[in-house]
Symmetry: C2
Subunit: 519 residues, 2 copies
């Protein structure tokens, strides 16, 4: 072990140390930051230092408690910067950039990308080199600014509800917080172990060849579509195989249709009501062909690159076996609003407790666990939260879609851009930051946005945005909408024009009327 408790490494020093440790592989030399002079018992051991564990520990420490984080990786932050959110955002930025460059190929200063394929391996390797930066920052911030104690790079073993061993030592605490996360769900068909079959984690860890001209993506949810759009943007034939219609989580049909039309326009192929039934190898352990069962019969597709976006399985085995915590049918650990499991003194947070697999839920779960451990009686209510994903665009949504609103309200009013009009989407709006070249030259690519309103109470029921730059806004809109934001209040706000979402000004154009109408 490396005792770092008396060091003050900079982020660049942490980069070097983490890289050395990751390159060494299984050779465990954990970084241990435990203050020998602090004789207090730990208030909590956070098993796992990802979003839930790290934020939980930080909150508990800020409250004056003493947390210990144990993580198998030599860095804090968990799967997000290593496998999940960060690479996903890198690939989505690449997809957005490539859509722009392909759309305007040969115009203005743009290079000609027509017919050209962009390397996936280069982008993955760029990410692989770059990801140690965020890792290092997490270690730096956690140690120097958040005053957290940790054992990093050592697998923790649960002994009981108060005791975890790691790096040859045994640690005890009043309470235990399980934050061991989840892993990608396997496909479970013949050949799914072949080289060339990836999930979001193995793609960034293992890819060591340039994928050929065809990518096959399995799944219709966020991960599958997000990665599929990136593969498509690189110039590859991209086939999405899913049992159901893609993007079911986007609860507004018009928004979903806009997105799917844009993907199809870019050449993505959707094979729905379909299943990937087998993966065939080339005799040397590599994927050569996939077999897809479709309503029209079996299809065989030659490919050396398969991506699985099938959801998550919880890393709950050890907690079940050693502690006996209750889990649901999917194996996810069950918790109450205090983030307590069925076992006294044992809490659980993050992906381990199930959907939504989002950062805010993990972090806030950690915060609520910390508050309860420190003696408060605090209950985490997962309220209506905003949501997002990426295609070639950023997509945000919250509340009710038009269909759901019409089921529950008699007087639904819709404000949207582009509006219904004889030229359909060929109007030069919406236009906003990073969408201006589309607005000027290819208007139908410049996005889509929509507000769903109860015309009677004048309250906002739902909001939908396809484009760029609305994510931050949706974070802040969500509590406003929960608190009853009306068209009239919207119209009193100060827009920063050309604002990515035109909600403020659309509302203002209608707010003068006692009887709201569509726009």
């Amino acid at each position: 072990m490396v005792d770092v408790s008396h060091t003050h490494w900079s982020t660049s020093r942490w980069v070097r140390e983490i890289e050395t440790r990751l390159a060494a592989g299984d050779d465990e030399q954990p970084f241990v930051n435990i203050k020998g002079e602090d004789r207090r018992e730990f208030d909590a051991i956070f098993l796992g230092g990802g979003a839930g564990g790290r934020f939980g520990a930080a909150y508990l420490r800020a409250m004056g408690g003493r947390p210990l984080i144990i993580d198998r990786w030599p860095f804090l932050g968990g799967s997000c910067p290593h496998h999940a959110c960060v690479p996903h955002h890198v690939f989505s930025d690449a997809a957005a950039q490539l859509l722009l460059e392909r759309t305007f190929s040969g115009q203005l200063w743009f290079q000609d990308l027509n017919g050209k394929t962009v390397s996936i391996l280069d982008v993955v390797e760029m990410f692989r080199r770059g990801r140690t930066g965020p890792h290092a920052f997490m270690n730096f911030q956690s140690k120097e600014q958040l005053d957290l104690e940790f054992v990093l790079g050592a697998r923790g073993r649960i002994l009981d509800a108060h005791t975890v061993s790691a790096a040859g030592r045994t640690f005890t605490a009043k309470d235990l917080v399980l934050a061991t996360g989840a892993r990608p769900q396997a496909l479970g068909v013949a050949g799914d172990h072949l080289k060339g079959v990836f999930d979001y984690a193995s793609l960034v860890d293992d890819l060591d060849y340039e994928p050929g001209p065809t990518a096959v993506v399995v799944g219709g949810g966020k991960t599958a579509i997000e990665y599929g759009c990136f593969f498509n943007a690189t110039g590859r034939r991209t086939i999405v195989v899913s049992r159901h219609q893609p993007l079911p989580m986007i609860n507004d049909g018009e928004t979903r249709a806009y997105l799917l039309a844009r993907m199809e326009e870019q050449g993505m192929e959707f094979c729905t009501s379909a299943e990937l039934t087998a993966i065939e190898g080339d005799g040397q352990g590599r994927v050569r062909v996939v077999v897809i069962r479709t309503p029209a019969g079996e299809v065989r597709v030659a490919t050396d690159f398969v991506f699985l976006g099938l959801g998550e399985r919880p890393n709950s085995e050890e907690a079940r076996e050693v502690l006996g915590v209750d889990v649901d049918a999917g194996g996810f650990v069950e918790v109450d609003g205090r983030m307590q499991t069925s076992v006294p003194h044992v809490y659980a947070v993050g992906d381990l407790v199930g959907a939504p697999m989002e950062m805010f839920k993990a972090r806030k779960g950690g915060m609520y666990a910390a508050r309860n451990i420190m003696g408060e009686d605090a209950h985490y209510q997962l309220s209506d939260y905003p949501d997002f994903m990426h295609t070639h665009y950023e997509v945000c949504w919250l509340g009710l879609g038009e269909e759901g609103a019409r089921e529950r309200y008699r007087n639904v009013v819709v404000l949207k851009l582009p509006p219904d009009n004889p030229d359909d989407q060929a109007v030069a709006l919406p236009a906003g930051d990073r969408m201006m070249l589309y607005a000027m030259m290819k208007p139908h690519l410049s996005g889509f946005q929509k507000l769903v309103i109860d015309g009677t109470s004048r309250r906002i029921l739902g909001a939908f945005h396809v484009g760029c730059g609305a994510k931050d806004g949706f974070q802040y809109l969500a509590p406003m909408v929960r608190n009853g934001l009306t068209v009239d209040e919207f119209g009193e706000m100060d827009e920063l024009f050309l604002n990515p979402s035109y909600f403020i000004q659309l509302c203002r154009l209608r707010a003068g009327s006692k009887v709201l109408r569509d726009l």
Copy 2:
């Protein structure tokens, strides 16, 4: 005149009609949309159909009133889509895109732009072709969706507080709303009429040659810097000449310094405490040299391209002469909170009434004028509003900067990214949408963000963001901050990670502590 009152032109039809009219130049054939069957007197004539006039008329119409808009251009929307906000955003998007392509020239799929100059003329011509789209949309929406009556493409002449003539007809109304806007301030030195001297309006209207390798920008405010960054991003030597330090409106020194450092890193030259004293021609009416008086003496710069960003002058002459409305020292029309001028029945809105020259102020001014004309007693209070500009980045700010906060509060706490640390800005954060490639490969280019907090009340005092994607959020944050948003409330929100601004999670990391500390 062309009576369009019985037509239902699509946006693409409007594009063709507007283009024909603009190409014909002074040959006035106004589009007249007046409902012959509506015998009511007009409630208000809006002289000018830009942001203030159009939104004011729309609001008045929604309230059940009858407005008439008269505009000298054959389209609604005013200077924004023709000369101002829209081209500015197009050029800023180009600057952001070119910064990315230059930074990663020759890496991944990026073309090599090293040493290459990008055409300004091409981008201007692209905008010139594209801008009719937004114009057409405004006409379409105003007529078909907002039910507005108008005379477009005819100069209105004020006869008295109730009467305006245009297109050979005389129109009367109960009230008159002046919305005639502003125009760029001239330089007022020898040679400022030469070909090659532009402001934001003449640049997009008149540029007909490819500017040479050196651009000289006069001014240190938003417009000067925004256009200067675009010229720089095209690969030209760009010299910014200003009397004072640039970007005085950004009231946080650290944010301003980050921006200026990035501009200087891109090669922009700042010539401050300086004045452009003369522009010399080449004998054929074209700029050849500018003369700059600097603290170190006179400097002569060879250039064929000068851009003036000197602020605005109101188009108030006719209203002063005919109506005698009171104006301030700069000639801007004075109004009260009801948007009423010194002359009964005469209102004024938009750029004509002075700073801030922002869309929200124009539109809301129109709305408040409409409410008062329709009998309400409504007062527009210009409250603390969020603000923004573009450099190569999007920049947003609201409230107090750190310096101003420390003057007024004893216990100021700052949360920021990147944090103070031994590696300065070489840490891989912030990272958010459209900034990911920087975060991975050139972290110091990935942005800057900061919250300024009163540690005692725990309230947010100010927020600053450099990067991409925070504009929408700042719109919604502003009223929350005005209503007393605290660190603790911030920490309860649901972030959409990797959110462009990290304010929610930064607050959550500190919120557990009764004594707030910097981060």
